[in-house]
């Protein structure tokens, strides 16, 4: 049986305690397999961003397990999680989060260099990633010399550099116009078709439609989608 690249098992995340406790996620189970793009939708406060930060090892669940490529993130400890973020997990943010003082190539090679890769190998991998996203010619540009769409492509290159198989995208098109946003989704889709597992948090149904599956969160709970599942089953 195929094992998921990302697996959340009965994950809850509670902020605060007692009367003031906020249940951001309640007993959520979620999987993303290699080759699929899963969209997560829900209103503000539904828990979709919490799900993504837990999957990315940026936060820890109150209970339950988050497993990435077979590694339990909680058991891995802070150091282990940081290492996974440099090697296995790619994160794409709405506002790109590129380092302004570094060129596109340097931004992309940074996670590999931080992970101890020789500089030359890291640069070569960065060049490959930038080429794959069609922006090899922008390698020496600084973020403020690029359009939003170009910066987001650099951010995706940074997220995929070095054979990472889990891409987490938090509203990656939020700051872009509709046509540029679509280019970004096309790229994410292509990465997943090439074997990555992608999780896309979005509030735009049009963008969620690029995914193979759409998961709806409400008040920290995954909405039961049994009926939709049956429809799909009947069609097959």
């Amino acid at each position: 049986m195929n094992t998921p690249v990302l697996h959340l098992e009965g994950v809850s995340r509670i902020h605060g305690s007692g009367e003031l406790a906020v249940h951001a996620l309640r007993e959520v189970s979620f999987e993303a397999y290699a080759g699929e793009l899963v969209a997560v939708m829900g209103p503000s406060g539904s828990g979709k961003s919490t799900l993504l930060t837990l999957a990315g090892g940026l936060d820890e669940p109150t209970s339950g397990r988050v497993v990435v490529e077979g590694t339990d993130l909680t058991a891995a400890g802070a150091g282990g999680r940081a290492r996974l973020r440099r090697t296995a997990i790619g994160y794409v943010f709405q506002d790109f989060n590129l380092i302004p003082a570094l060129t596109a190539a340097e931004n992309v090679s940074l996670p590999l260099e931080l992970d101890g890769a020789p500089s030359r190998a890291a640069r070569a991998a960065a060049a490959t990633a930038l080429d794959e996203l069609g922006i090899g010619d922008l390698a020496d540009r600084f973020p403020d010399e690029m359009s939003g769409g170009q910066q987001q492509r650099v951010a995706i290159a940074r997220a995929i550099v070095g054979q990472r198989r889990l891409i987490l995208a938090d509203e990656p098109t939020g700051a872009l116009d509709s046509v540029t946003g679509e280019d970004i989704l096309r790229l994410l889709r292509a990465r997943c078709d090439a074997g990555a597992a992608g999780v896309l948090v979005t509030h735009e149904p049009r963008h969620a439609a690029w995914a193979d599956r759409v998961v709806y969160l409400r008040d920290g709970v995954v909405l039961d989608d049994e009926d939709a599942g049956e429809t799909v089953g009947a069609r097959r």
């Binding site: 735009e204 049009r206 439609a209 429809t231």
Partner: protein, 173 residues
């Protein structure tokens, strides 16, 4: 929608016979709105009566070619140059269902909304797959029209859900 203007716009590009017009219409609009051949011929005869087209020579296969008159050309220009009127909205089964569902007993409206949202999302995913394969700009724009309409429906469903919850919260207080 009457196909009158679509046929005139096609004839502005070159003279065509009825069946050719039907094929061209469907081809250019990605087969989204199938056209009945009878509808093409009745429209053509009306256009001829109104002096917007003339039925001219027949081609080597005996097809009668229609071409635009000067008045027809002016009509096409006027059509492209003016906004499509927002007519009386068609009956929307989903909106009617929710409006009536609000006061129905033993009905879980949230469940109805989620079921519809899933179904509309499935349609949106299908349109998206078609769009990814599209190589013709016209086809892409037609598919975009379907995509944006489906998206609007999902957004509206999200809004209905939020409104329902707010109303329920108020009732509890």
């Amino acid at each position: 929608m009457s196909v009158k203007h679509a046929l005139l716009a096609l004839l502005e590009q070159e003279p065509m016979y009825g069946y050719q017009l039907r094929v061209a219409f469907e081809e250019r609009t990605a087969g989204t709105w199938p056209l009945n051949i009878g509808q093409v011929y009745t429209t053509l005869s009306r256009l001829e009566r109104d002096g917007l087209v003339t039925a001219g020579e027949t081609d080597s296969d005996g097809h009668q070619l229609y071409r635009l008159t000067a008045a027809g050309r002016a009509e096409v220009t006027a059509w492209f140059g003016s906004a499509v009127p927002r007519t009386q909205p068609a009956r929307d089964e989903l909106a009617i269902k929710l409006a009536l569902g609000v006061s129905a007993r033993d009905l879980d409206l949230a469940d109805i909304i989620q079921r519809q949202r899933s179904a509309t999302m499935k349609a949106l995913q299908d349109y998206n797959r078609l769009k990814r394969k599209a190589t013709d700009l016209g086809h892409e724009l037609v598919l975009d029209s379907l995509i944006f309409a489906a998206e609007a429906e999902i957004r509206w469903l999200d809004h209905c859900e939020a409104q329902l919850r707010r109303t329920a919260d108020r009732a509890v207080r």
